[in-house]
Amino acid sequence: MTEKELLIKVKQKNQKAFTLLVEQHKSLVFNTAIGFLHNKVNAEDVTQEVFIKTWTSIESFRGESKISTWLYRLTVNMSINYLKKNTNKNNIISIDKKNNENSAMLDIEDKNQNNSDKLLTNKEHSKALKYAIDSLSQRQRTSFILNKYENLSYKDIAEVMEISISSVESLLHRAKKNLQKKLLNYYKKTASF
């Protein structure tokens, strides 16, 4: 079944076609959401919300772009909204607050704690990365997540974000520079370089 045929059936509220659409695109939605939320449960919540929204408003999809582009846009918007809504509920982990153990963080096992090369544990690396990504501007963060979590090309990112390819290049360059700055500053502070 082609994408067009699938979408026609979904627009006709065909449940089987919708199930197929979910199966084909759930990892795309989930991976993008986890890039923003860094939490499996929250990413699954957003994935559900995205597909419910898809079911209820598929009529508004005009087919001018690929369904994946439309889903990426929905996921980015809903993840940002989810973060805004839950800012007070979730503990936004600050690197400075070392003792603040948030159970919502990805449970990455510290298998290499004894490795002398690693001054930080995996959990701390996870926190550091989350902090650094969250500190990026919304546009830098979106372009970085689409590029690194979903391996989207500059052209695809430009289509999702509705900007030019050169803008994507510039956003990604600044995003990486800022990430590097935040992370290196953190390592220098913690390891007393």
Binding site: S27, F30, I34, Q48, K118, L120, H125, Y149, Q180
Partner: protein, 148 residues
């Protein structure tokens, strides 16, 4: 800007292999000779590798089922809402028609009641009838007639 600062500014691009061959080689050599930069690079690489761990997070096998269940629930609620809207509109129309009918009925009933009550209670009876062209009132005209 010393060598270390220059290297630090490009570590993330070195990690993502986004530098030209010459710069890649230059940083590689520097990292082999500078333990401080090497540690920083390893830290950065470890933090950035978390992205790959997050990317490979297993999705709940029942996620599709959960989504379909949610969608069915949304559809059910939508239908229930539509039915209640139709029912509400039907009730509203019925009540409006009933209110207008009752109003008309009472209007006609009360009007009819007062009309018959007025007729029954009326004592007025006309005893004298005055005519404008009564001959007695026309003295001048009668004199003329008589003189003739």
């Amino acid at each position: 800007m010393n060598d270390c600062t220059k290297i630090e500014n490009n570590l993330i691009f070195f990690y993502y292999k986004e530098l030209n061959k010459e710069k890649m080689e230059q940083i590689n050599v520097h990292l082999l000779n500078c333990s401080k930069c090497e540690i920083l690079y390893n830290q950065l690489a470890n933090s950035l590798s978390v992205i790959d761990i997050e990317k490979n997070t297993d999705i709940d096998l029942l996620l599709t089922n959960k989504i379909i269940e949610q969608v069915l629930l949304v559809e059910k609620n939508k239908k229930g809402k539509n039915n209640s809207v139709v029912f509400k509109k039907l009730i509203q129309t019925t009540l409006t028609v009933a209110a207008i009918s009752v109003g008309i009925f009472f209007g006609v009933f009360i009007g009819g009641f007062y009309e018959s009550a007025n007729i029954a209670n009326s004592n007025f009876e006309q005893t004298e009838v005055f005519y404008f062209n009564d001959l007695e009132q026309e003295a001048f005209l009668s004199e003329i007639i008589n003189n003739e």
